[in-house]
Symmetry: none
C-alpha cells in the first residue's frame, strides 16, 4: 500500500514517514504542495495525509485539484486545533476525515484503516473471502481457520490484490504500490511472490485465489463475504 504524506514541518513529517514505513507501507513524503502534486501524479497512492497549513498551495486547494483530476484515494487532513474550522472547508473540498494536531499516532493509524476498509466495503479490519481470511490490522492470514505465515512482501502483495479484489492488476501497478520509487521495472519478483503465495495459500490447488490474466496481470478472484 502506498501512502502520500504532505506536511511541511520536517520533524513531524519524519515522525509520520518513519512510523508508517515501519508498519510496512510504501511512503512518500512531500514538504509542499508542488512536490505533493508531482508525487500524486507520478506514483498513484492508495491514501493520502494532508496538512492544511502548507507554505505554497493551501492544502484545501491541493485537495480540490486532486478531486478535479478524478483522483479518488481517501484523504485524511491534519489541522491545528486552533484552525479547527478549516476541517469543514477541507471536507467540502473532498477530504474524507480529519485529525487535529497535536495528535496521537495510533489515532491517525486507526483513521487510515477505517478509510481504507471503507473503500473496500469492509466493516472491520478483517476480510473473509470464502475459506481465506485476511486481517489487515494484525497482518495475519488464515485458510480454513488455520494460520498461514507469510513474509512481509508476501503479505503486502496479497493485501494489495485483495484490496483491489475483482480488478485486473498489472505487474506495473503492483510494483508501484509495493516498492519504492527506484524499483527495477523489469524484474520478475512479482511472479515469484505470486508463485509463493499460491503455494502457501493453496497447496492442494483447490482454492485458486489468484488468477493470471495473460498479458495483463493478476486478479484476486475470491469475493468478500458481506457477513
Amino acid at each position: 500500500m502506498r501512502l502520500l504524506i504532505v506536511e511541511d514541518d520536517p520533524r513531524l513529517r519524519e515522525r509520520l514517514v518513519g512510523h508508517f514505513s515501519a508498519q510496512g507501507w510504501v511512503v512518500d513524503g512531500a514538504p509542499d504542495g508542488r512536490e505533493a502534486q508531482y508525487l500524486a501524479e507520478q506514483y498513484p497512492c492508495d491514501i493520502a495525509i494532508v496538512d492544511l497549513g502548507l507554505p505554497d498551495i493551501s492544502g484545501i486547494e491541493l485537495i480540490r485539484r486532486w478531486r478535479e483530476q478524478n483522483m479518488t484515494m481517501p484523504i485524511l487532513i491534519l489541522t491545528a486545533r486552533a484552525d479547527w474550522q478549516d476541517k469543514v472547508t477541507g471536507l467540502e473540498a473532498g477530504a474524507d476525515d480529519y485529525v487535529t494536531k497535536p495528535f496521537y499516532l495510533e489515532e491517525v493509524e486507526a483513521r487510515l484503516s477505517v478509510l481504507l476498509r471503507r473503500v473496500e466495503g469492509r466493516h472491520s479490519n478483517k476480510g473473509v473471502y470464502g475459506r481465506l481470511a485476511i486481517d489487515f490490522g494484525t497482518r495475519q492470514v488464515t485458510v480454513d481457520e488455520r494460520p498461514v505465515d507469510l513474509t512481509t512482501y508476501e503479505f503486502n502483495t496479497l493485501a494489495y490484490l485483495a484490496h483491489r479484489q475483482g480488478a485486473a492488476v498489472g505487474r506495473g501497478e503492483l510494483l508501484d504500490h509495493l516498492y519504492d520509487r527506484d524499483a527495477d521495472r523489469d524484474s520478475n519478483v512479482i511472479e515469484v511472490f505470486i508463485g509463493r503465495l499460491r503455494k502457501k495459500l493453496d497447496p492442494e490447488g483447490d482454492i485458486k485465489p489468484i488468477e493470471t490474466l495473460r498479458g495483463v496481470g493478476y486478479r484476486f478472484v475470491l469475493t468478500r463475504e458481506s457477513a
Copy 2:
C-alpha cells in the same frame, strides 16, 4: 511498563515518580495539562495517574481529550477530599478509578495493579501461562513451579511481552515501554535480553515462550489460563 503522572504539586509529583521508578516502572512526570498531552502523544503509556486540580487545562478536560483520541490506557484520578464530588465527573469523562488525597502510596499502587490486570483479563496479580507463571506483584517467575530469578530488566521485558500476549511487539515499542525517553534507538539491548530470557526460561528449548517475527518484533505466544 510506562506510567504517566500528571500532578502540579512538585513535592507530591516527585514522591510519586520516585516511588514508582524504584519499583521498576518507566515514569514520566508532567506538571500541567499541556506537558501531559505532549507526553501522552509522544510516549504512549500503559497507565496514567491524573490529579484533577491542574493549573491550565483541567484534569477532566485532559481525560476527555485522551478518550476522544481513542487512547485506551487505564486512568487513575487523584482528588482532594474536599472536592470528592469531582470524582464522578472524572469517571464520566473516562477515568477508571480514583484515590482521594491524602493517600498512602500503597493504596495507589494497589489500585494501579488492579487496573492493569483488568486490561489483561487477570483476576489476580499472578498470571499462569502453561508451565510458566508470572507474579506481577512480587515480580517472581516460575517454570514448572520452580523459581527462575530474573534481573529487573529481564523481568520488565518479559512482563511487557506477557502484558501484550499474542500481539506482535516491535523493538521500538519495547524500548518505549522499558526505557526512558533518551534511549538509544539502535542498540541491540532488546535482542540481548530476549536471548537471556529464552535461555533462563527455557533452557531445554521445549517451551519457546517468545517467538520472533523477523522484521517486525517479538510475540509472547503462551496463552494465559483463564482458570
